[in-house]
């Protein structure tokens, strides 16, 4: 089987999982809660409700209700968010790029710092870098991400400012006046990218500055985990027989590590990255709230305060969709890295 056939097959499985997810959300939003609330807007009048019920088949047996529900999901009708005065889908879609940017940045922190330090920890096994990385990893896994975010704000925003040091902003994606003075054309919605493409470098700098603290806070947990897994899989690989053969060929140590060992060691790390992204998505609502980041997570959290169940359910659905896609990507990369995988 070729690679694209493998991808296709996995996507089919993906659909089944998504169906399951929709079932759960359906259960939560339509069985536990009053189903009508999903589709009520603030302008819906009493008289209109029976028509609404009929339209969404809310009085029919649940299999039909479920079918209608999924059909509407596919059409883009994810319900109505009264707190936003917008359809859920529109509200979420608007904030999607912000969360995407934050999550990507956090993942980059975790990988770009975690992988090299993991390698170093393995090469300087049981020496100082190793102990440091173990400490960092353990701390990372035990730290509440929202607290970390708050502390980072305290230090890098407030105290730096007091001390007269250049400080990092703690709120939002851009300075409030920036959007007026240097408007950004939105292409992808990822501010850093868009401003780079359009040459709007002032905005790039500002966007990056705003991105640093929240993405680091979010990525910190996963950073530690990736560091440790890279370290342990590297150590494992370096013990293997084929490394002895590689050395016996007279290859330099650097070639042995980067050509022979690394590819093998990355395999378990890639699998863990999938789990790490799940943790990142979970931490997004907290981080976005703390940093005033206008993403979906914060939207959902605000929805909690306003009892906006449709919004929360919509957010859950999209989070699951993202995670499933990321896992698919991880599986594909894994199959690419390891030629032994039969597909």
């Amino acid at each position: 089987m070729k690679l694209w056939e493998y991808i296709l097959r996995r996507m089919v499985l993906l659909i089944f999982v998504l169906i399951g997810v929709t079932l759960i959300i359906f259960f939560l939003s339509q069985v536990l809660l009053d189903p009508v609330t999903l589709y009520l807007t603030e302008r819906t009048r009493e008289e209109a409700i029976p028509a609404l019920i009929a339209y969404y088949h809310l009085n029919d047996p649940w299999p039909i209700r479920y079918g209608v529900y999924v059909w509407n999901l596919l059409r883009g009708d994810w319900g109505y968010s009264r707190s936003l005065s917008q359809p859920v889908f529109v509200g979420l879609a608007g904030r999607f790029p912000a969360t995407l940017e934050l999550t990507i940045a956090a993942t980059l922190w975790a990988l770009v710092v975690g992988i090299p330090f993991g390698i170093i920890s393995a090469l300087r096994n049981n020496k100082l870098p190793d102990h440091v990385s173990r400490l960092v990893a353990l701390t990372g896994v035990s730290t509440p991400v929202f607290w970390l975010g708050l502390l980072l704000q305290l230090l890098f925003f407030y105290y730096f400012h007091l001390l007269g040091l250049p400080n990092l902003p703690s709120n939002g994606r851009l300075d409030t006046t920036m959007a007026l003075v240097h408007p950004v054309t939105q292409i992808t919605g990822l501010l850093v990218l868009d401003s780079l493409i359009t040459g709007n470098f002032i905005v790039t700098e500002d966007a990056l500055a705003h991105l640093v603290l929240p993405s680091f806070a979010l990525g910190f947990v996963s950073l530690g985990v990736i560091m440790r897994i890279m370290r342990s899989s590297m150590l494992e690989v370096l013990r293997q027989d084929y490394i002895i053969l590689a050395r016996s060929k007279g290859l330099s140590e650097r070639v042995v590590i980067y050509r022979h060992a690394l590819k093998n060691a990355l395999i378990p790390t890639v699998t863990v990255t999938g789990l790490a992204v799940a943790a990142l998505l979970g931490g997004a609502p907290l981080t976005e709230t703390v940093f005033g980041w206008p993403g979906m997570g914060r939207l959902a959290v605000e929805g909690i305060g306003r009892n906006d169940a449709p919004l929360i359910m919509g957010f859950t659905l999209i989070a699951a969709l993202i995670l499933v896609l990321v896992n698919l990507a991880v599986d594909i990369i894994y199959a690419y890295l390891d030629p032994r995988i039969k597909y």
């Binding site: 293997q240 027989d241 053969l245 007279g250 030629p339």
Partner: protein
């Protein structure tokens, strides 16, 4: 190797793996190193190429190769020697080949380590034959300084092409069919025998002065073993320099080797020319080994075992390490360790039974 003593630091204690090992590999000969598992044969080989694990250290002795003591040279020089002069093939081709790299990648990198040779080959025609003759002409100094010289004359892509062509050719030398296809494949797609041939090819690629084969047939099926031995026999005459063949199988030794050294518990206890050894085993251990294997031409007797078991190398026996199991042991054996000494023509043994005449 002269009087090499090698120890391992372990949590359980100091493992005295090699206890004064001395032997010589002559130019062009095939010498076998025989012994039970754990007697130190593989460790000896690893010591030569400098691939011992971290907890091993040489406490005494020297390893002389082409006039140099391998204990004293730098890492860089050692790597140079591994790339050009000493090649080793290991026991289990499944674990010793990198699963994520193709055979081609793993084979070509061996060639690419010696760009100077490749440059010369490129000029004269890209076959293994040519490589061989290039190597024969090659002098010492060329190897040491060669990297800068001729390699700059060839581009990277050209070097790769030469390496590719040579890889195809060397795979033919180890009697593999369809070498172009194999180069593209990954180790797990090949059978055990094929993988082992590939490993042998990687060694051949260097046209080494010393070819070390560490139990290369042990992990293979019997029929495949026979094929590999056949291959070695053919190659022995054509291409290889000296060979150090490590095995626990006396049959292999009988087929392929000119001389044999018998090892027990970290010592060489007997060295002889192969026919001589089989005809007149002198050391009681060797005699025990001979009795333990069935041989064509002997009457059907009971296969005997050597009583007792291999000693604990953390607390080895005093004096001669074999004395607890030796049917001929006497007082002196417990106290003093026997040295290898000349007993017969081209036949040395380390045993007090034979007196102490210098070899």
């Amino acid at each position: 190797m002269n009087n090499v003593r090698l120890n391992f630091h372990t949590f359980a204690g100091e493992v005295k793996a090699l206890d004064g090992v001395t032997f010589m590999v002559k130019k062009g000969e095939a010498i076998g190193l025989v012994g039970e598992s754990g007697c130190g044969k593989s460790v000896t080989a690893l010591a030569i190429v400098g691939l011992l694990p971290e907890n091993a250290y040489l406490s005494d002795g020297e390893i002389l190769f082409e006039g140099q003591n391998l204990r004293n040279i730098s890492q860089k020089e050692m790597r140079n020697i591994r790339a050009h002069k000493i090649a080793m093939v290991f026991q289990d081709p499944t674990t010793f080949l990198n699963p994520v790299l193709t055979i081609g990648e793993q084979l070509e990198e061996v060639f690419l380590l010696t760009p100077d040779r490749l440059a010369r080959v490129a000029a004269a025609g890209e076959t293994f034959e040519v490589l061989r003759s290039v190597d024969e002409e090659c002098t010492e100094t060329d190897v040491e300084t060669g990297h800068a010289q001729t390699s700059s004359k060839l581009s990277k892509s050209r070097l790769k092409k030469v390496a590719r062509a040579l890889s195809v050719d060397v795979l033919k030398q180890v009697r593999l069919a369809d070498p172009e296809r194999i180069l593209r494949q990954y180790p797990h797609e090949l059978s055990g025998g094929m993988k082992q041939r590939c490993m042998i090819a990687m060694a051949l690629a260097r046209n080494p002065v010393l070819f070390i084969a560490d139990e290369i047939t042990t992990a293979l099926d019997v029929t495949v073993q026979a094929q590999i031995l056949e291959l070695l026999r053919e190659l022995k005459h054509e291409l290889l320099g000296s060979t150090l063949l490590i095995t626990h199988d006396l049959g292999v030794v009988a087929e392929l080797c000119d001389r044999v050294a018998v090892m027990y518990a970290g010592n060489i206890v007997e060295i002889a020319e192969v026919n001589e050894l089989f005809a007149n085993p002198l050391h009681p251990y060797t005699q025990g080994l001979m009795r333990a294997i069935p041989m064509i031409g002997r009457r059907l007797e009971r296969l005997e075992t050597i009583p007792g078991s291999v000693p604990d190398l953390i607390y080895p026996p005093s004096g001669c390490r074999f004395h607890p199991r030796c049917p001929f042991a006497f007082e002196k054996c417990k106290v003093e360790k026997p040295q290898l000494s000349h007993v017969r023509q081209e036949h040395n043994a380390a045993c007090h039974l034979y007196g102490e005449k210098e070899s």
